[in-house]
């Protein structure tokens, strides 16, 4: 990964296998990750548990997230790795110690890879620069959640007809329109998906009221469009991805919750009327009755549970990639 600013020729090098942003991945990288994911799922448990036997992985969580943390932790353990959790709830993150120093301490203790969840956008870049370890971004502020976008892409490839979930090309999601609805402004899931899905040929409609979705969101990339009318967007879509509405974030945004539900909630009636065949997704945790109705979440269109199980598989592949120093692809043969 390099970056050239207009003023200088500064080149940041991150350890191979780091995943800080989906923008770092080529389509070939995505394809390799999906191939290894499939291969790992097919592998016998005992064999899988040898792949990272004796390797040490640190989970550094400055923000609580049961789902993502457990998913990464179980993924690491399924490959035989030793994990250690350092969270803001534990005493391990010393008061006031810098992210850099915490990272250096973990490295000195033998961590070979750090999975970082952090409330500040860009924190994984700091950790990767300062420790030179492979870092997996498990969600940073309002920025990105790259493993989520990969598991979402895999879920679509598994559930949409005529797709191949074991590899990816720039045409894998040709003809697919995905509507992502909700609090786009604060959503790292939306940012990662808005970048990744168009790389695989999908069209992404970001949908929500102006307060949660400023017009400039369309600049996230080619293949991204802004939609205000959820019903109209649904009619164009094969996939509908709902995002959690965090009530606490609505305080300053002057958003009328009843009005939001009326216009943007995905419920059975709306789904049946506008997109009866659409695949329904949600990165969780859900607030049933707010952004999504319970019957839809549990209904036949829902891929929500598949997303969770894909999370485990995709994250296993990402950990293998982080710790294999180029030997990653050999798992595929």
């Amino acid at each position: 990964m390099t970056q050239e600013s207009q003023g200088s020729k500064k080149i940041f090098l991150y350890a191979p296998g780091s995943l800080l942003s989906v923008a770092d991945l080529t389509v070939a990288d995505v394809s390799a990750i999906l191939t290894v994911t499939t291969r790992l799922e097919q592998m016998a448990h005992a064999q899988r548990a040898t792949l990272l036997a004796g390797r040490r992985i640190a989970l550094l969580f400055y923000e609580s997230s049961t789902r993502t943390r457990t998913s990464f932790e179980l993924a690491a353990k399924s490959l035989g790795a030793t994990t250690t959790l350092v969270s803001d709830k534990s005493s391990s993150i010393e008061k006031g110690e810098s992210l850099k120093d915490t990272g250096l301490t973990l490295r000195a203790l033998g961590a070979e890879c750090i999975i970082l969840r952090h409330p500040s956008s860009g924190a994984p870049f700091v950790l990767a620069r300062e420790t030179s370890l492979p870092v997996l971004n498990a969600g940073d502020g309002m920025h990105e959640h790259p493993s989520q976008a990969l598991l979402d892409a895999r879920t679509m490839l598994m559930r949409l007809p005529g797709r191949d979930a074991a590899r990816a090309t720039a045409k894998s999601l040709d003809g697919v329109t995905v509507v992502i609805t909700g609090d786009i402004l604060h959503s790292r899931v939306a940012r990662s998906n808005a970048w990744l899905l168009p790389q695989l040929g999908a069209k992404v409609l970001l949908c929500g009221p102006e307060r949660l979705l400023p017009e400039m969101a369309s600049s996230l990339g080619d293949g991204v469009e802004i939609a205000r009318d959820f019903d109209a967007a649904l009619r164009r879509s094969q996939v509908v991805m709902m995002l959690r509405i965090q009530k606490e974030r609505l305080a300053g945004l002057e958003l009328d919750l009843a009005d939001y539900i009326a216009r943007y909630q995905l419920n059975g009636e709306r789904l049946a009327a506008q997109a009866p065949d659409a695949l329904v997704m949600h990165p969780g945790p859900m607030i049933r009755g707010l952004e999504i109705a319970g019957d839809v979440a549990d209904g036949p269109n829902s891929a929500i549970e598949l997303q969770v199980s894909n999370g485990l598989s995709v994250r296993s592949a990402l950990l293998l990639r982080a710790l294999s120093e180029g030997g990653f692809e050999s798992v595929t043969v």
Binding site: M1, Q3, E4, S5, Q6, G7, S8, K9, K10, F12, L20, S98, L99, K100, H118, S120, S121, G122, A123, F125, V126, R129, E130, D140, G141, M142, H143, E144, R188, R191, P214, M216, A217, S219, L220
Partner: protein, 434 residues
């Protein structure tokens, strides 16, 4: 003090409209003579500098630097900061008051300006306009003025209260000095760490809008109009590091109305945009933030058409451990004294076609005028022997680790520069030599 004779240089002195081959004699810390090549030979100067192929100009003046002393000498000291200034061709710098404690008293000012601090070039200061820069109670303008200040400013803490700003403008107007304002409506920028726009959206960072800057500029201009009308005074508002087209439009209109408004632009704002943040590079984090390309173009246009009066660096050193943090936590600011001339020549001279004379005016004559520094910013015989000698054609790249500043926080590490300082002379003393 021994004489210095500078021979065969191309002397550019914007104040006197001079841009020709001249020899220059410095004696007793003053410009003694300036004459046709060859005519000052035999004056018996102890030091003779051959400036063939070089430009000889009035020393650069920076009216906006942070020297961190007292209180944060791990970032910079007056000695190291002014050494960096000398290396950048500056012979005069004006220190901002956000030291610890805030420079808001005569005692603090005198301590800062005392020879014991070891300033390498001429040091002036703008003390705080309000006690502790808290925006509530004016400092003792009259006493501070008597002690030798060149303006008042709360710098990074804009004066938000209309009544206090009005009072400050009136008090400064009575003394004939400017109030220098960092234009930011901080009610609109809480939690923001960069420019508002698509780049911030993509990076997931909260952004400062253009309005947060222009609203304060517009408010201050309204205060000037009102004070001129009601008090019969003519206050001087100096707007610091203008970064947006909208604020420049307001300043342009105010100037057209005849109000006494001046402003500065920083080299980083005319060189970079918010894209330079890249992968959350905290060396590209400053306030005002790097803006979008349209605003950068507006700053360039303002420099060309005279709306921007001068260039100032806002030299803001920070220690490595402070910048090696999450973007939102890292402090604002970059060092700037050693890259200002190289960027101005690359971007404004070669890139925009501004003449050397215009650039030297922006970096010397004009800022000396804004801060009312008599005898600085020109080579008129009798003025201070503040001289910069540089090679206008030299291409080089800046290496942060070689900086004289204690801190290395710059987005221009490895960046191309045009024009290299050959020597800097402050009041007749050679304070830097390549």
């Amino acid at each position: 003090m021994s004489d210095v004779l500078i021979l065969n240089g191309r002397v550019i002195d914007p104040a006197n409209g001079l841009n020709e081959a001249r020899d220059l004699l410095l004696r007793d810390g003053k410009v003694a003579a300036i004459d046709k090549p060859g005519s000052l030979k035999g004056t018996g100067a102890a030091e003779i500098i051959d400036a063939s192929g070089l430009v000889v100009a009035p020393g650069l003046v920076d009216i906006h630097v942070h020297l961190r002393e007292p209180g944060q000498t791990y970032k910079e000291t007056i000695a190291t900061g002014t050494a960096a200034a000398a290396a950048g061709g500056f012979t005069t710098v004006v220190a901002m008051p956000n030291t610890i404690p805030v420079n808001d008293s005569v005692a603090g000012l005198e301590w800062m300006l005392a020879p014991e601090r070891g300033a390498v070039v001429k040091l002036f200061a703008m003390p705080a306009a309000t006690l502790g820069s808290m925006g509530a109670t004016l400092t003792d303008f009259a006493a501070l003025h008597k002690a030798g200040v060149v303006g008042f400013t709360d710098d990074g803490k804009p004066i938000l209260e209309d009544a206090i700003m009005r009072e400050a403008l009136i008090a400064a107007a009575r003394l004939g000095v400017p109030v220098s304002q960092h234009a930011e409506d901080t009610h609109l920028t809480g939690g923001c760490s960069m420019n508002y726009g698509p780049v911030a959206f993509r990076l997931g960072l909260r952004g400062m809008t253009v309005e947060a800057e222009s609203r304060i500029v517009e408010r201050d201009i309204r205060l000037l109009q009102e004070i001129e009308r009601s008090e019969g005074l003519r206050p001087h508002l100096h707007v610091q590091h203008v970064s947006t087209g909208r604020a420049l439009d307001a300043i342009r209109a105010a100037k057209a109305q005849g109000l006494h408004v001046t402003c500065e632009a920083a080299p980083h704002h005319f060189t970079l945009t918010d894209e330079a943040i890249g992968d959350y590079d905290t060396n590209a984090k400053m306030n005002p933030p790097l803006r979008a390309e349209a605003d950068r173009q507006a700053v360039l246009a303002g420099l060309a058409d005279g709306t921007v009066d001068c260039i100032a660096t806002d030299h803001a050193p920070h220690a490595a451990h402070e910048k090696e943090q999450e973007f939102e936590r890292a402090p604002n600011g970059i060092t700037g004294l050693e890259t200002a001339l190289g960027l101005a020549l690359r971007v404004l001279h070669r890139g925009q076609g501004l003449s050397l004379s215009k650039i030297l005016s922006l970096m010397s004559t004009a800022p000396a005028g804004i801060a009312l520094l008599p005898g600085r910013g020109s080579l008129t015989p009798g003025s201070f022997a503040d001289v910069v000698i540089f090679d206008p054609a030299a291409s080089w790249s800046f290496a942060a680790k070689q900086s004289r500043s204690k801190s290395k926080n710059t987005p221009f590490d490895g960046a191309p520069m045009l024009g290299r300082v050959h020597a800097t002379i402050s009041e007749g003393r050679i304070v830097f030599r390549q």
